[in-house]
Subunit: 262 residues, 2 copies
Amino acid sequence: MSTSSSNKSAQKRDAQFVACDDCDMLKVCTPISIADKDFSLADALVKRRQPIKSGDHLFSEGEAFSHLFAITSGSFKLTTASDDGQELVIGFGLAGELLGQNAIHPGFHACNAVALEDASACAVPFTPLSSTASQIPSLMQNIQAMMNKECHDMHRQFTMLMARKNAEQRLAAFLLSLSLRRSERGFSGTQIQLAMSRDDIANFLGLRKETLSRLFTKLNLSGLITAKGKQIRLHDIDGLRLAAGLPASILIPQEQETAQSA
Amino acid sequence: MSTSSSNKSAQKRDAQFVACDDCDMLKVCTPISIADKDFSLADALVKRRQPIKSGDHLFSEGEAFSHLFAITSGSFKLTTASDDGQELVIGFGLAGELLGQNAIHPGFHACNAVALEDASACAVPFTPLSSTASQIPSLMQNIQAMMNKECHDMHRQFTMLMARKNAEQRLAAFLLSLSLRRSERGFSGTQIQLAMSRDDIANFLGLRKETLSRLFTKLNLSGLITAKGKQIRLHDIDGLRLAAGLPASILIPQEQETAQSA
DNA sequence: CGGGGAATTGAATACGTTCAAAGGCCGTGG
DNA sequence: CCACGGCCTTTGAACGTATTCAATTCCCCG
């Protein structure tokens, strides 16, 4: 849908959109297209680039699982209700990333996906996908691997990021994680326009917004970043890694393992 | 090794062992036995009740994945090296539970499994298992479900238990989790003989041993538990749930979802 | 019975939270 | 175009919780 419209804003718009090549769903979409005689099966299955308005739910906690989603633009926060009813932010979904995959097993969504800004997503209905997958081992494997990676990242994230780091380390690690995830999709890793509020970040990191605010100020003063509202610029990645309590990046060019996906 | 020895201690010894009926591997073992003409295929595949000495590794970080393990007696701690080389306790494995399943996907173990006491485990070689599984859908599904449950528990554990609870809530939640997991295998849920040291618990909970010690004292004084060394007695489950910041248990008889597997 | 590691206790400190207030940004309406 | 109001963010000060360092006690094992 968004591939139409005027030429004028195309430049700017495309900069925010993620190409299929940069999308995590590629490994799902491609086998579908190739395997079937009809080359456009993927197109037939996938509802491409559905718009979601800021604040709207892509899916909600408890909802039956039906589709896998690939975020093609915008971003989402993943939330769940805590035992005492508070909103818990348990992650963020950025353009190019997948959402909903951890609902495959239980069959229902364990969290809400709320658009942090106007966004769009491709929706892959899972029933035809899984029946296709059962005939295409590589597709099944891709889906499996995807879910497992997700699981591992989550585990690592909480083991490392949440439990044993102090406030400053958490924020530094969070910014680095965002940076890395953006880089992986072809966005700038040093110039970041945050979509989420300080509250959401604080909630996600298990801190208070006041604490988080002080930390932003501190990182600003130390020269590691320039944070002006939601515009963040990272000046010193290695310095941030140090501040995050992570090993220096020099030795690990492709640091898949140490990267926490938020 | 421990299956031999005198008759005298048999009674006591068996009390610590887990029967196949109480073992998480049952769903894996049973389909193998049934599916094959040779009813004893499971026996042929599974290396039953291998002894592991206290302090020995069932598997180690980085090691190639080859077997699924079912703990038939004793217990293990799961550890990994943190970024700065410290030991991080990321979980515990109790009798009747599975170990190694989260190594299936990456193909290598992401953590160490260290016996906290003399233990024994059944080892299921994964290659024949997975080839068997590809012919038996239900087996494959069971393995899948197993891994997914693990993933969810882990996620929930860290989301809820680690990140946003204070020290007292963490300890209370930890004790409740142990209690529940023991109950599920037919062990007492109120009388617990800890296999792990205070240090290991503190490490797991992201606290200092001194803090943990003070908390044990506090819970003792409040009458919720009696902790004398590694002998723990839980007196008031609902009180503990309250202390853990969890909703009361009354409404949820089978609280699979709220149970954090440590 | 003695040695040594584990566990507990105490006191001072550091870190994050809480409560309170001020500042800044943005959209609405005059 | 500016003024107003609301919300998000920042800053300040007091407080509470967990950590740190140090000393002591307990308990297991030889």
